[in-house]
Structures are given as C-alpha cells and as structure tokens.
Symmetry: C2
Subunit: 256 residues, 2 copies
Amino acid sequence: MQIITSRDNPNVKRIAKLTKRDQAKKENLIYLEGTRLCEEALASGQAAVEVIVTEDKTGWAEEHTPGVEPLVLSSDVFRKISQTVNPQGVALVIREPELTAEIPHGKDGKDIYVVLENTQDPGNLGTIIRTADAFGLTAVIVSPTTCDPFNDKVIRATMGSVWHIPVIRKTMDECFRFFDNAGIDTLAMHLNGSELDSGILRLPCAFFIGNEGDGLTDETAARCSKLIRIPMRGKAESLNAAVAASVIGYELSKLL
Amino acid sequence: MQIITSRDNPNVKRIAKLTKRDQAKKENLIYLEGTRLCEEALASGQAAVEVIVTEDKTGWAEEHTPGVEPLVLSSDVFRKISQTVNPQGVALVIREPELTAEIPHGKDGKDIYVVLENTQDPGNLGTIIRTADAFGLTAVIVSPTTCDPFNDKVIRATMGSVWHIPVIRKTMDECFRFFDNAGIDTLAMHLNGSELDSGILRLPCAFFIGNEGDGLTDETAARCSKLIRIPMRGKAESLNAAVAASVIGYELSKLL
C-alpha cells in the first residue's frame, strides 16, 4: 500500500480539483466526503469512480468499495484537500445521476410530481427531495434556474433521498408540454390561489413551487390548471417553500 | 447630529459587545441588523432600546423609531461592528421576549402547542416557529436543550413570526404537568407510532418533536398519550423535523 504524503502528487491535485463543485460539475462528477454521505450513496447503488481514504481507513474502503483501488493519503494531505472541519478520512468521487433524463411515468396513473421553479436555498431543495421520497412521489423536477441538486448542502439535507428518487432538470416549457399532453393536473402553489381542499385533488398531478422570495412567475402560474393556497390562520404571510411542498405532497400522497 | 467615526467610542464598544449573541443574551437583549429584520420586529410592536444607523440612514430611524435618539456611525465604523457581509446601515437592540412566561391558554379549548425537545438546527427551529404562526398554533415550547430561539439564524428563518407567537422555554416535566392537569392530548411524533389519521386527532392538543438525529427521548415518548407516525411510502427513513411539525400542525389546524 502506497501512502501519498505530498499535496503535489498528481492524483491528489486531480482530486483536489474535484472537491470544488464547479470543477466536478464540468466533468459530471460529484465529490462526497464523510462516512454518512459516502455510505448512503453506495447503499443506493452509486458506483465509486474514485475512493480516497486515509491510512487508517483502508478497512472502510475494503468493506464498502471492494474492487476499487483506493487512493490512500496521509492524514495531513487528506486534511489539506478536505472540505470539512473535522475530516473523517473517507471520500468518494461518483458520477452525477442523469439530470437530463425524460420525466418518468411510473405508477399506473398515480404519479405525483413536484416542480421547483427557481428554488435557491440548498436546504430547502434538499428537504423537498427528502420529503418527495418519503411521500412516494414519482420525481422532483427542477428548473434550470434552481440551485444545483448535487451541491454538497443539498445532498446532506436529502439524507440519502437524492439517490432514491429521480431529480430531473426541465424548463417550464418542457414540463407543461409533458403534463398537458399526458392530461396531468398542474397545481400552482400560489398565495392568490383557492384554499387547499382535499376534495379537489386527483392523481396524476404535478404541483409547482416557486422561488423563496418571489413565488412562482406569473407566466408559470398562468399555465397551471389550478392555483392552490395552503390555508393560514396566523400572522405569517407565507410558508417556507419546503413546508408548502410538504403539506401539498402529504395531501396528495393520501391518494396513492 | 453627531457622527461617530471611531471604533473606540464607548457607545460603539458597548454595541459591538451586544452584536455577539452570548453577550446580548446575558443582558436579555437581542441585536438585530438589516432593514427586513428590524422592520419586522418594530411592526410587531417590539420597542427599540437602541437604534444604530449610518449617516445616510437617519431618515430610516426618523421614520421607524421616532422618539429614540439614534447612534449615528460612519459607514466605516458600522462595517466594523456589523455581523453581515453587506451592511445595510440599520441595526436595533431590543429586549428579549419573556421566555419563561407561563404556557398560555387561549382559544376556547382549541389550543394547539408544539413542543420541541432538543431541536438543534436554527433553520429548523425558525421554520417551525414560522409554520406554527401560519397555522394558528397557541405557542411554541422549547426544551432548555433546544437551540436559542433568538439566535440570528432562527430569527431570520421565522420571517417575523418569532414576534407573532409566544415562544416559551419549559422542561418536559413542566410541560407534562401543565398538559396532563389541563387534560390536553399529548402526541409524540415517533417512528414507532401508529399512522397519523385525522380521525384520532382532537383539540386541545400538544405535539412533541424530538432532536433531528435521535428523535424524542424514550422518557418523553413514554409520557405522551399517543405515539404518531406520519405515513411514508418511499425509501426515506424519516422526515426533516420541520416537515414533520408542519404536517401534523397542518392536520391539527383543520380542527380550528
């Protein structure tokens, strides 16, 4: 076993580049660090392109990524490329799931989709992906302006769900073409909508959630078949985007 | 109008101390910065103890805090004490709301309480306070181990709701004494609970949400009258704490 002790080693330089999200993205790769994140990805069938461990974590590599030759770094070198405050000595490079895939049909006419137009907060996006998985939705569709779903903060917030449910990037135009052709209800979550009432919900259905500050664009709201508002009784003017998605997702999941 | 241009001015030193949350907390004060946060607090009736503005923002002070002599700082000095990357030149010191108040009764037997045992993420706490306000809950009760509700990140995430709904700190013991005496249902949100079914819900009611990683302590779960689980259909093992609180809070708010 060769332990790399220099930051100038070409393999270390290559990995260090991939720890920057914008660099990894250019190569359609994702750098993951820490046992939880790495094990979640592997448990969900993601293949390791590269395995990076410290000397004392080669056992982890043997157990979790047999058949892949790990890059073994000294603790010091690992710390230098690490993106975390307390490095655990375990990192992976995996391939990005296919963001440009077709919108899947899947559930005998019982599909539920959440469409995010310009969600900006990684925590919100991650929580919505986690909730969409929990409630059995078919896919999470993100607009090109929505934040990168393979950003480290998003992946952490999904608690592994980013590997369980398809996350697909589509323009609003592509969404409406697909949903309208397939006869799928499109619900705009909108403060001027009518109050959410389980009686008006039916599957298949896609619900649209807008930007945290501005909500949905007028254009998108106008193209949806219904405008829906979650009833509020207090002084809050609006709900957090992930909360709104969770409440409507939960109501719709009752129809599954 | 005197413009303070030195970081060594005793008033500036005093405010600079209060910008550190642990220092402000000792004096039961809260330092708020930025127009949104400050205006939300003032609009909800919080009184300004101190107003701190840059020279170009004295108009803001005249409009929003008439009757309070503002401390006017040069942009340079303001930037030095500021806790934000792009200082807006507007800050307030206000008194902390009374965390040790009694648990309020309020709604003709229709009270809903959320009790947080050891919530650690400020974003989750803030989102839960915002949602509790939106759904018309009576109060948010936090355990002594739950993160500081007047932490800057919490306040930001509440979008003003921290000033709309009572946030009260109580031990679990104090909670159960109050709820059991008053005949209020206590629901533990728990992965081993029975599936949430609106048929079993009645008001008044308190629901308990545990720590993000560990859930409720066994002791607290055992003292609740029912254990409830939100039905999940996908591969996610659990829901985000704020999402779980939102779904149960939403279901209960239908009974208001």
